[in-house]
Symmetry: C2
Subunit: 373 residues, 2 copies
Amino acid sequence: MTRRAVTIVDVARYAEVSVSTVHYALNGKRRITPATQERVQRAVRELNYHPNAGAQAMASHRASVIALMVPLRGDMHLPVIMEIATAVALTARRHGQDVLLLTGDEGPEGLRRVTASGRADALILMDVELEDRRIPVLHEVGLPAVLIGLPTDSTGLTCLDLDFRVAGAACVDHLASLGHRDVALIGGSRQVYDRHTGFAERTLTGFLTRSEQLGIRATHHSCEGSVESVAGVLSRILEERPCVTGFVVQNEVAASALPGLLGRLARIVPAEASVVAICPDQVALHSFPQLTSVSLPAQELGRRAVELVMAQLRGEVTAGEHLLAPSLTARESSAQRVSTRAIQSSTTGPASATSSPRTARPSPSVASGASSV
Amino acid sequence: MTRRAVTIVDVARYAEVSVSTVHYALNGKRRITPATQERVQRAVRELNYHPNAGAQAMASHRASVIALMVPLRGDMHLPVIMEIATAVALTARRHGQDVLLLTGDEGPEGLRRVTASGRADALILMDVELEDRRIPVLHEVGLPAVLIGLPTDSTGLTCLDLDFRVAGAACVDHLASLGHRDVALIGGSRQVYDRHTGFAERTLTGFLTRSEQLGIRATHHSCEGSVESVAGVLSRILEERPCVTGFVVQNEVAASALPGLLGRLARIVPAEASVVAICPDQVALHSFPQLTSVSLPAQELGRRAVELVMAQLRGEVTAGEHLLAPSLTARESSAQRVSTRAIQSSTTGPASATSSPRTARPSPSVASGASSV
DNA sequence: GTGAAAGCGCTAACAA
DNA sequence: TTGTTAGCGCTTTCAC
């Protein structure tokens, strides 16, 4: 039943060569006569030989495994995490590496475990915090590693993230190009700005800087993750600045609720107000109207992370901040600003789609129920 | 910089005992004097010893790794997949196992690779199809394995899934308890019923059987994943059976679109028509109104899968179909049926909610009943 | 209760 | 161009 596994010795015997010949034939680190090469290949094929990973790891000091630590219940969106994880696995395989799945709750000790035991020879960490407790371990072990997210002190580390500064600027650019002259940024909760931050502040910087450059009036507010808070923040903004017609949101709840809330305040999106979100595509596409947005390039993050790790395994130095250029996709929530309060009968918006069920949707103001945090 | 790793020999020397003593002290397969025990523990701690995984695997013929194969771009929802994966990783660690992440595109060959190379000594497969090409490999390698989903021929295999038959019945029960006497099931696309199926048919069976038992009129239609098709199916249903007031949906697009579509046809949900969905919580919660639903118990699937694998590693036989009891959560999309066409002025519907969508919750009498077989 | 030593299967240095 | 062999670090049998 459980027959002994095929070893390199079996292959050698079968091909009538020595083990080293088999070995070198399989990884071309030595010139082999085509004839011998062929015999070995045949033997491998016919015996269905797969080198034993443990032995290989032990002898070569390389496990050919990348450990990927995913957040357990972070602020990140599950689909985004999954997309990154999948991209990591795919790309890793393409480079002959396997992926070990670790959860964030294993913490620094988990990293120590998998590295000290030689289970993994490279690390990819998601959901990196500003003062991440795992970072000291990274320096300790000195193995190839990539952080997805930017910590406060990234000295000597390879970090990868979306360029949120540019993303913030891109949102302003987009709104400006549509004629909006007064814009507001609705960000994440205060917590996000404190703890997990980095990206939130970077977005803000880009947003403010570009606004100033373009001579556009800009405000910003942090905002908790409930529809109520979004409503509160919104009314505060409009109270202080009734002329705001462009909104940038970096807050999933706000993203999906804002169009509805604006509608209730007689500012139909996109006819009278434009909304640009920085959020996962999923959120942008599931909102009504679909949101113009800068998306998180999940797949590319995963792919790049592996490539950076591989470069390090090759001995290259990749330390530094690798920022992916954001790309903004225009959808239904942004449009040319009209100076006069729009004509009531304006049916030019995407909302006019014929058979679309959207028309039937009730007062969208109440769209999404209270969700947590 | 890259100092040599601490080995069991180092520990032995430090503790002034033999390697075997260290070994046995660490896994209690031999009686050790408390004094010696303590010395070893100290050495381990002070040297920060972590057994080398490769060597361990090679010598013991056990990698202590479970391979988890996730669908690449299946019909399954990304968040659900991620939740299962996370639960698998968590539970596995709790059992001293690590998790290797494989993507579906590695196919049968991928399974052969990780098993033949001794990288993994157990398998968990997600997104199992009726005639899954990976199944033959499972029989070949004979390693512990759990399938999440039910294939046509599950002989000798350990399968795990939600009990969709009971889920279908539970939906009928719920609608019946609310007074609905004429119900319709809107299922997935025809493809789903063909290819990836299993679960779709099982739901249907439960739905029809229970309807008959309760003397309720029932129809069912498959439905593609576009809003247009949902609209089409809906109008067809109402044409043939104007009296249908209860809907069961197992189709994410239909789930989120149905309430709106019904609203357009002057059947406000839940006042005049009730909708019960079989879908991930995410979908149910993001719809408006929030859907009464039977959810996919992602976490439990992941946890149970690992437990079943561990049982097999222990030598226990777990072959068979392990079906999780579904649980139905009543939300805002289902309510007591009113026989007279609702009063037009009925402002009790959820659409009237002011600041809190919850107020709209219908007849709270609806107990969240989880029924079992 | 403790120790010695023979593998496990592969890699890589050394020979031929 | 090909073959031989000494480890890699741990497990486990056998001896004390």
